[in-house]
Amino acid sequence: MIRNLTNRIILIVVVVALSLWIDLSREILIPNPFSNTNEALFSRDVEPRLGLDLQGGLQVLLEADIPADQTIDSEAMEVARQIVQQRTDALGVNENVITVAGDRRIVGEFPGLADTESVLATIQQTGLLEFVDTGDDLPEAGTILLTDYSPTGEPVTAGEGEKIYHTIFTGAEIDSISVSPNQFGGGYSINFALKSNGAQIFGQHTAANIGKILAITLDKQVISAPVINDAIIGGQGTITGDFTFEEANAFAIQLRYGSLPVPLKIVETRIIGPTLGADSLNKSLIAGGIGMIIVALFMIIYYRMPGIVAVLSILIYAAIAFAVFKWFHFTLTLPGIAGFMLSTGTALDSNILIFERMKEELRNGKTLNQAMDQGWTRAWSSIRDSNLAAIITSIILFWFGSSFGATIVKGFSLTLALGVIISLFTAIYVTRTILAIFIRSFKPQNYERWFGL
């Protein structure tokens, strides 16, 4: 027998109502009742997030371009991640997610992205700007200069006939940057202002080297190599080159967000066209829907009244799970849907275990209430143990997925684990409550007809 049936019903109704609210909205907004303006007391965006495989897009796996036996500072990886994030944000792409995976990799995901070229180009550039003293040598734009500055701290060695130039300071000294059209002729130039320390170095160097060449290089490649005409005091400068607006802008983005503390190389690229994504989404939705209908029919025909209860319970399960996914901004992917379908299987399994147990007890001549109690208590140990085993496995898989950037496995294990946890609640709590309500309202006598004995 269930005591506190009313309390149970209230809890379930509240949970279901909240879930449906989240399921059916794009944004949860609670206005502040004491405010005259439209200020929100609480708001959260619950737009469903579709993975790359469902809406198309780009995924790149970046790896630190540093020998494998060298350890990389985790802080440096985090800074690199932020820089990649800022650079791609500045390109105006939406929903880009950049995460560190393991100790030397970064995963970048750009759902719904059409122009993959500019993103890939922007990410990959180290963006190391150097102001190099070349003395009397006048390097042409585009030549590669060997300088004594190295981001890893390793000394630079010159090969036969090569010359190492001195780097006066790097892009780290730049305070602000802007793009403006050239005063004469077409094209754009980049204006920069230096931080106080940089301004001082710049001032001293230019004062002492009038008539010499100051080369400006990006990733060791010469962009321009002006002659120093005057001492430049105050830290303001202009890089004049024959840039198009796009070039100047991309350049400015890189300077603004600094250079990467670790050089990154692209080790994996996946691009999924939007049509393939939409196709997969449709097919999985249809498959899920038809699958659910068949399962519902089977449950109702085989288990009769408890079958109807189980179907209701599974629907509630699906509503809660979807709400949780939306609330926590989980990205839905195809493997994620597979994980969800399998946890639905687990939810069904819990119901089946209980109903089989109930039927057994009824066959042994127990009363309906006894059979219900026994069904739940006896089935509980196997539901608990088998679900715990599934959760243990998902946790290991999640760890595997996130430490490696294997997003497929990560999405799968996350939905599986959450689904299993939610299914524990619905099978143990919801199914039982609804069945109790049904039994009270219908008072079934003929067990053969009502329970399919």
Binding site: L61, E63, T116, E117, I266, V267, E268, T269, R270, I271, I272, G273, L276, D279, S280, K283, S284, I286, A287, G288, I290, G291, I294, V295, F298, L334, P335, A338, G339, M341, L342, T344, T346, L348, D349, I352, L353, E356, E360, R378, S381, S382, D385, S386, N387, L388, A389, A390, I392, T393, S394, I396, L397, W399, F404, A406, I408, V409, F412, L416
Partner: protein, 304 residues
């Protein structure tokens, strides 16, 4: 229903299936996809009727110094080009050349490019993940069955059933690779991991019943106790299996795409095997272990 009396038939059935599939796999090698070996898959769609012929595409690749490109066309009229690892710069170049050569818009449907070093690490980590998960689950089962005699056996048998399912999956992959050119990719990995999880679940449900019955029916002979427990959980196993399999069969039929079809078939077979192994492998081995039957395996029964 006496299921256990036929236990050696079940063992033989599993062994035949596993050995035949694994032999195929051993002869032909494991067909690893680019997820593991590294390489590039480039799927493009041309405007209607403007798809260039294979030799044109091949020569475009050769111009970029890629001479191992393999070209297949799909049901939807797109072209899949597999080759060694392509950088993004080379891809842009190839794409441009394809546009010029075909005089048509070229839509990129899919581009998967994996560096060669990544694949090996994926395989390694996956093996570690499976090993760690199995050890944890064994420990969990031993702990959970601590009040039953020989709790350790239950853990080991659950792992044996799991290994059985992994072997069956590789066996079916061997068969699929031989007849349908299947490849082992990261989706396959997902399927494998799922089956492992559910194999455990199924085995635990059967073992749980044995655990419960061993408290109630203390006097019953062990073999009869296990058999009784199997029969009692049989209805549940069939119903759950029917439903989850039903689910996946439908997904399989409707998902279409070759990659997902493979995923669904592997899952389907794996889940069936998971249920099969919990009833016909894990539980019977418990009995074999209890009776120490291996002492009579090699004809010594005549002397005994």
């Amino acid at each position: 229903m006496n299921i256990l009396s036929k236990r050696y038939y079940f063992f033989a059935f599993s062994l035949i299936l596993i050995i035949s599939g694994l032999t195929l796999l051993a002869i032909n090698g494991v067909p690893l996809s680019l997820d593991f070996t590294g390489g590039t898959l480039f799927e493009v769609q041309f405007e209607n009727g403007k798809t260039p012929d294979t030799s044109t595409i091949l020569s475009i690749y050769e111009d970029s110094n890629i001479d191992d490109a393999q070209i297949t066309s799909t049901e939807i009229g797109s072209v899949i080009i597999r080759s060694s690892f392509l950088t993004n710069e080379v891809r842009d170049e190839v794409l441009k050349d394809l546009k010029t050569a075909s005089d048509s818009e070229v839509t990129v449907i899919r581009f998967d490019s994996v560096g060669p070093s990544i694949g090996r690490q994926v395989t390694q980590r996956a093996a570690i993940a499976v090993a760690v998960a199995s050890i944890l689950v064994v420990l969990f089962i031993i702990w959970s069955f601590r009040k039953v005699e020989n709790a350790f056996r239950y853990g080991v048998c659950a792992i044996l059933a799991m290994l059985h399912d992994i072997a069956i999956i590789f066996s079916i992959t061997g068969i699929g690779a031989y007849f349908f050119n299947w490849q082992v990719d990261s989706l396959f990995l997902t399927a494998l991991l799922t089956v492992i999880g559910f194999s455990m679940q199924d085995t635990i449900v059967v073992f749980d019943r044995i655990r419960e019955n061993s408290n109630i029916l203390r006097r019953l002979e062990y073999e009869k106790l296990v058999n009784h427990s199997i029969v009692q959980t049989l209805q549940r196993s069939i119903n759950t299996q029917l439903m989850t399999v039903e689910f996946l069969l439908l997904a399989l039929a409707l998902f279409g795409g070759v990659t997902l079809q493979e995923f669904a078939i592997v899952l389907l077979v794996g889940l069936l095997s998971g249920t099969y192994s919990s009833i016909f492998v894990a539980a019977p081995i418990l009995v074999v272990w209890e009776k120490r039957e291996w002492q009579t395996w090699f004809g010594r029964s005549a002397n005994a």
